[in-house]
């Protein structure tokens, strides 16, 4: 009773039935906006960063679609002896910013004994090769030096022959090519060899430069 005399109009409970009809839309709007008003009190943390780095390592490879065996048809003669062409496929996936070319080098481990038959041997100077679509286009002996790139050596000194040198750019950073290696044993002017089977191993390796 004292509060009423001091504070003026006392509060009264308002029943739903006491609301004027025109207040209904306003009440509905208030009910709809209520949750939205609560959602406005958004709090955010500071953003944090995670540095992500993923590296794809460069790769090169060689495959021999027709296998890795070459046998001279007929008998080894004292002149020119040609093997059947050997296809080889070179594939690469390299960073053009770091790779200028992809090369393929073929080599014999021991140049003096490219093919051997016991103590008798055919040196790499008598073994020639060519790649019509690559290099050399004409037969050349396997007497080149090894190829070195970024401290990695491919081939042997005096027993190698570069078969492919593919320039690399943005457009062919990933690619492959198939070439035909034609091998020849040229015994012209060399001393006669003892009869027998002369076998050897030619290594092909691809290297980035």
């Amino acid at each position: 009773m004292e509060l009423r005399s001091i504070g003026g109009t006392p509060s009264r409970a308002v029943g739903w039935s006491m609301l004027p009809f025109r207040a209904a839309p306003l009440l509905a709007v208030a009910l709809v906006l209520g949750p939205a008003a609560r959602a406005q009190t958004s709090v955010t943390s500071a953003a944090r960063s995670v540095a992500i780095s993923a590296t794809k390592v460069a790769s090169v490879g060689i495959t021999l679609p027709a296998g890795g065996s070459l046998t001279l048809p007929g008998s080894l003669s004292s002149g020119v002896n040609d093997f059947s062409p050997l296809p080889f496929t070179t594939s690469w996936s390299v960073d053009p910013a770091q790779t200028a070319r992809v090369s393929v080098v073929a080599y014999f481990e021991v140049p003096a004994r490219a093919l051997a038959n016991g103590g008798a041997a055919i040196p790499t100077s008598a073994v020639l090769g060519r790649v019509p679509g690559g290099s050399p286009r004409s037969f050349a002996p396997f007497t080149q030096a090894s190829l070195t790139a970024s401290g990695t050596e491919a081939g042997t000194a005096g027993g190698s022959l570069m078969l492919v040198s593919e320039p690399i750019g943005v457009d062919n950073a990933i690619g492959e090519r198939t070439d035909q290696l034609q091998m020849r044993i040229d015994l012209t002017g060399t001393p006669a060899l003892p009869a027998g089977t002369y076998a050897g191993t030619l290594n092909l390796v691809a290297i980035t430069q």
């Binding site: 005399s5 001091i6 504070g7 003026g8 609560r38 959602a39 009190t41 958004s42 709090v43 955010t44 943390s45 500071a46 953003a47 944090r48 960063s49 995670v50 540095a51 992500i52 780095s53 993923a54 590296t55 794809k56 390592v57 460069a58 790769s59 996936s93 390299v94 960073d95 053009p96 910013a97 770091q98 943005v170 950073a173 990933i174």
Partner: protein
Amino acid sequence: MTLHRSWLRLLFLAALVAATEEQAAAQAGTVSTARVVSLAATKTGKLTMGVVSGATQTLASITDNTTNNFPIPVVIQTQWDLNPGQTGSVNVIGWFSTPTQALTNGAGTNIPSSRMKGKLTPGAPTPTSYPATFTAFTQNAVGGIGTAGGSLRLFQINITGANKTQTRTDNLSLQLDLTAAAVLPPGTYSGTLNIEAVTQ
């Protein structure tokens, strides 16, 4: 005669005293109009998020046409002190600023955010929702945080009185999914994943 006057004075004084007491009583019951002083004290909600470890994610060697998992998780710690009456949920969002270039080698080859995936190994208690399996960063922003098509909600936790104050730690694993993607040129692909917490 003198006696009569004395009695009259006494009566007059008595009447005056009575009248004065009535006025004094009336003055004691007078009050001013009440004035209202509004008091307000707001405690602002607090929400912080930090990367405890794994802020640098490195894949030493990408393999094409398969999934590449980053070796260590991003350990995220989230802390809050919120009013459940004003906060519906806490959300942590991870996003890339440019979805088409989540990672780039700087030479024109980009990896989009659709190739970057995240999976959460949650701490306790388990969130209301989170990516339990590797999920691409292709969602839209949440509460204004993130980018359209380059985001992933790492978790959502509904706020109640029971968890209005909490510190939790979660592990985010990342994956680069190159399944059926074009072969990438070799090189290093770099990018930044942003992580931020927001209430709704």
